[in-house]
C-alpha cells in the first residue's frame, strides 16, 4: 500500500470509534428513484423498505434496529459511484443494497469491493457484476440463464427464425442477447436479423423496418420497459405481427400504460409470479398490499429478498464486521425467499427458477416455470 492511502486508512480507523454510539445498524441503498428506469428503482426500494420495517417490527437484528439510508442515482451513469462512496465513507454503512440495472451495479461494485463492504444487488443479472470480487452478491439469476430460458421457450413454440433488437447502452441487454442467440443456434434455430438502439431513443421505425424485411417469426427485445413499450407500439404500427420476447427488464408499471394492447401475445422471463401459492409469496403479497395499497412486481420482491438475506446473514454472523458478514452471506443456503428458495453459489449468484409470463387482457399471466 502506498503511504498516503495507508495514512488515510489509519485516520479512518482512528475516526471510527469517535462515531456516535452504534444503536442502529446502517444499511445503504442506492436506487433509481427518478429518471428513465425510475419504475425499477421505486419498486425495489419499496420492497427493501418493507423488509426493513418488518425486521424492525420484530425487534431488529442482534438487538439493534436497522436504518436504511437510501440515495437516488436519478438513472444517470456516474451517479452510483459518487453515492456509494458517500454511503461508505461518510455514513459508515455495513452493507450496500442495489441496484437493479447492471450498468449501475457495475459502477458501484468495484468501490464496495475496494472498501470490503458487502454489496447485494437485488436484480442485476449481468454476469460481470459479481465477478468484480468476493464482496459482491446478488439474489437474482444471471443473463446466461435468462437468455437460454427464452431461447428454449422460442424453440418450444416452434419459432425458428428469430430477430434480435438490442439496447447497446445496457450491459444487461447485450448480455441477454448474447446468450439468447447462442441458445437459439444451439436449438437449431436461426437469427435472421440483428438490430440495435440506445436507451432514450424514441423512434424505432428505421430498425423495425429493417427487422420486418427479414420476416422473423419472433423478435427478442431484451430492453427496459420504457423503450420496449414504444418498440411494441411502433412495431404493430408498421404491421409487424411477430410476438416480442424479452427478459425481466420489461417489468415496469408504465409498460402497459404506454404500450396498450400492442404487447398482447408477447412473453418475457422474470423472477416471481403472484400466482405462486408458497407461504413466503402470499405473506409478502399481503403485507405489500397493506403497506402500499398496490401490487408488488419482480423488483419489489427482489428488493425484499435482498434485505432479508442480508439480515439473515448478519444474524448468523453475530456481528456486522465486514469479513464475517461476507462469509455468512456466501454461506446463504435454501433461504425461503419470495422469488424462490435462494442458494448463493461459489460465484455469489443465486440459483433458482425463472418464471415466464405472458401479456394479455391488460395484465400478465403465468405461463411456465423453468428450473436451472
Amino acid at each position: 500500500m502506498p503511504p498516503l492511502p495507508r495514512l488515510l486508512a489509519a485516520a479512518l480507523l482512528l475516526a471510527a470509534p469517535a462515531a456516535p454510539a452504534q444503536d442502529t445498524i446502517k444499511v445503504g441503498e442506492f436506487a433509481a428513484l427518478t429518471g428513465g428506469i425510475a419504475s425499477f428503482g421505486q419498486s425495489s426500494h419499496k420492497g427493501t423498505l418493507l423488509a426493513i420495517d418488518e425486521l424492525n417490527a420484530a425487534g431488529g437484528v442482534l438487538g439493534k434496529k436497522l436504518a436504511l439510508l437510501t440515495e437516488d442515482d436519478q438513472s444517470l451513469a456516474g451517479q452510483p459511484a459518487t453515492i456509494v462512496r458517500k454511503l461508505i465513507s461518510q455514513d459508515h454503512v455495513v452493507a450496500i443494497l442495489g441496484e437493479v440495472a447492471s450498468s449501475k451495479s457495475l459502477e458501484a461494485a468495484p468501490i464496495c469491493q475496494e472498501n470490503h463492504i458487502p454489496m447485494i444487488s437485488p436484480a442485476s443479472t449481468n454476469p460481470k457484476v459479481t465477478e468484480t470480487g468476493d464482496y459482491i452478491f446478488r439474489v437474482c439469476f444471471i443473463d446466461p440463464f435468462q437468455g437460454t430460458v427464452m431461447a428454449k421457450f422460442a424453440a418450444s413454440r416452434g419459432w425458428k427464425k428469430v430477430a434480435v433488437l438490442t439496447d447497446v447502452k445496457q450491459d444487461y441487454s447485450m448480455g441477454l442477447a448474447q446468450f439468447f442467440k447462442a441458445g437459439v443456434v444451439q436449438g437449431g434455430g436461426e437469427i435472421v436479423k440483428e438490430q440495435s438502439y440506445s436507451s432514450g431513443d424514441k423512434d424505432f421505425k428505421p430498425q423495425l423496418t429493417s427487422l420486418k424485411a427479414a420476416q422473423p417469426e419472433a423478435i427478442f427485445v431484451p430492453g427496459y420497459y420504457a423503450e420496449v413499450a414504444l418498440i411494441a407500439k411502433q412495431a404493430r404500427l408498421l404491421g409487424i405481427k411477430a410476438p416480442l420476447l424479452g427478459g425481466d427488464g420489461w417489468m415496469g408499471d408504465s409498460l402497459l400504460k404506454v404500450a396498450g394492447t400492442a404487447l398482447d401475445g408477447c412473453y418475457f422471463s422474470c423472477h416471481f409470479s403472484a400466482d405462486d401459492k408458497a407461504p413466503a409469496v402470499q405473506g409478502f403479497l399481503a403485507s405489500y398490499r397493506a403497506k402500499y395499497g398496490a401490487e408488488p412486481d419482480d423488483m419489489a420482491a427482489l428488493g425484499y429478498d435482498s434485505a432479508m438475506i442480508l439480515a439473515a446473514a448478519i444474524k448468523r454472523a453475530g456481528t456486522t464486521d465486514s469479513a464475517a458478514l461476507r462469509d455468512a452471506l456466501a454461506a446463504t443456503k435454501d433461504h425461503p425467499g419470495v422469488t424462490g428458495r435462494i442458494t448463493l453459489d461459489d460465484k455469489r449468484n443465486a440459483t433458482k427458477p425463472a418464471v415466464i409470463l405472458g401479456v394479455g387482457q391488460g395484465g400478465f399471466h403465468f405461463v411456465e416455470s423453468v428450473a436451472p
Binding site: G35, P206, A229, L237
Partner: protein, 308 residues
C-alpha cells in the same frame, strides 16, 4: 426496394420535425446573426404544453382523440411556445443587444441549461406518456398500388409532413407578403438602415423569436403524437440535429432549413437501417464538419457578406 422506400418514409417523418426546428434557428440567425441554443428546449416546452392542455381540450372536444382536439392542442402549444420565445428574447437577449455577440451566444447556452434543469425539477425527470390526441394507426393503402401497398404510412407521419408543409407555405407568405415580413428581411439585410427607414427593430426581433418558437412548439406536438413519450431532455438531441440541418441547408436561408431538416432525417433513417444505429449520431455530426469545411454557406445559403 420496399424496405428502402419504407426507410425514406420513416426518414421523411423525422426529417419534417428537424425542418420545423431548424427554421427557428435560421430565422433568428437571419435577423440577429447568433445561434439561439435554447431553441431545442423551446421544442421540449411545446411537448409539455401539449401534455398539460391535452386532457382539457380532449374533454372540450368530446373525450376521445379527434382532429379538432389535436388542432386545438397544436395551436395552444404553439401559442405557449411563441410567448416563451418572446419572453426569453425580452429577458435574456435584449439586454445584451449591443454587447459583443459572444456574450449573447453564451447566454443562450445558459438559458438552454436553465430550461433543461428547471424542466427536470418542475415536470420530473422520468419520461411522461403523452395522451393520445389523435389515433395514430397505419393507413390502408389501396391494393391497386401493387407492391407499394406493402408500405406502411401512419396517420402520424402523414400529419407531420402535411402540417410541416402548411406551416412552410404560411411562413413563406408571412416573410414575402406581409409588412412584418418585409421588415424582417430589411433587418436581416442591414439593421442600421432598416431602423433609419422606420422599422421598429425591437418589435421585429420579438416577432421573429415568437414565430420561430411557435414552429418549434408545433414540432414538439407532432413528435409527441408519433412517439407518445416525452421528457425534459428531449430537446437536447433534437435541437442539435436541427442545428446541423440549418447549417447543412445554409444558415439564414428558410428553404435551406427545410431541405436540411429533411435530408438529416433521411440520412438518419438510412444509417440506422443499413449501417448501425451506433453510427447515426457520428455520421450526422460528421456532416456538420464536412459542410463547414467544404461549403460553409450550406446547400442553399447565399455568399456571406462580411460586414465592415
Amino acid at each position: 426496394m420496399i424496405e428502402f422506400l419504407q426507410q425514406l418514409i420513416n426518414g421523411l417523418g423525422q426529417g419534417s420535425i428537424y425542418a420545423l426546428i431548424a427554421l427557428g434557428y435560421t430565422m433568428v440567425y437571419g435577423v440577429l446573426r447568433f445561434i439561439n441554443f435554447a431553441h431545442g428546449d423551446v421544442y421540449m416546452l411545446g411537448a409539455f404544453a401539449g401534455l398539460y392542455v391535452a386532457p382539457w381540450t380532449l374533454r372540450l372536444f368530446g373525450g376521445g382523440p379527434s382532429f379538432a382536439g389535436a388542432a386545438a392542442v397544436l395551436l395552444l402549444a404553439m401559442a405557449v411556445c411563441a410567448a416563451a420565445g418572446v419572453a426569453i428574447e425580452w429577458l435574456c437577449y435584449r439586454p445584451l443587444r449591443h454587447r459583443p455577440r459572444l456574450n449573447v451566444l453564451i447566454t443562450a447556452i445558459g438559458v438552454s441549461l436553465f430550461l433543461e434543469n428547471a424542466g427536470q425539477s418542475v415536470f420530473g425527470a422520468d419520461p411522461k406518456s403523452f395522451p393520445e390526441i389523435i389515433a395514430d394507426r397505419a393507413l390502408d393503402l389501396p391494393a391497386s398500388w401493387g407492391p407499394f401497398a406493402m408500405l406502411t404510412i401512419t396517420v402520424g407521419q402523414l400529419l407531420v409532413v402535411g402540417v410541416t408543409l402548411v406551416l412552410l407555405v404560411g411562413l413563406r407568405h408571412v416573410v414575402r407578403r406581409t409588412r412584418l415580413g418585409l421588415a424582417m428581411r430589411a433587418l436581416a439585410f442591414n439593421p442600421g438602415a432598416a431602423s433609419l427607414m422606420g422599422v421598429n427593430n425591437g418589435v421585429v426581433i420579438a416577432f421573429t423569436f415568437g414565430l420561430g418558437s411557435a414552429l418549434a412548439g408545433a414540432a414538439g406536438i407532432l413528435t409527441s403524437i408519433q412517439q407518445s413519450s416525452i421528457d425534459p431532455l428531449m430537446g437536447v438531441n433534437a435541437g442539435l440535429k436541427a442545428f446541423v440541418a440549418a447549417v447543412l441547408g445554409g444558415i439564414g436561408s428558410l428553404p435551406g432549413a427545410a431541405l436540411g431538416g429533411v435530408l438529416i432525417g433521411l440520412l438518419e433513417a438510412l444509417v440506422v437501417g443499413y449501417i448501425s444505429p451506433t453510427y447515426r449520431d457520428p455520421i450526422v455530426f460528421a456532416v456538420l464538419i464536412v459542410i463547414l469545411l467544404v461549403k460553409p454557406t450550406g446547400l442553399l445559403g447565399g455568399t456571406e457578406r462580411e460586414k465592415v
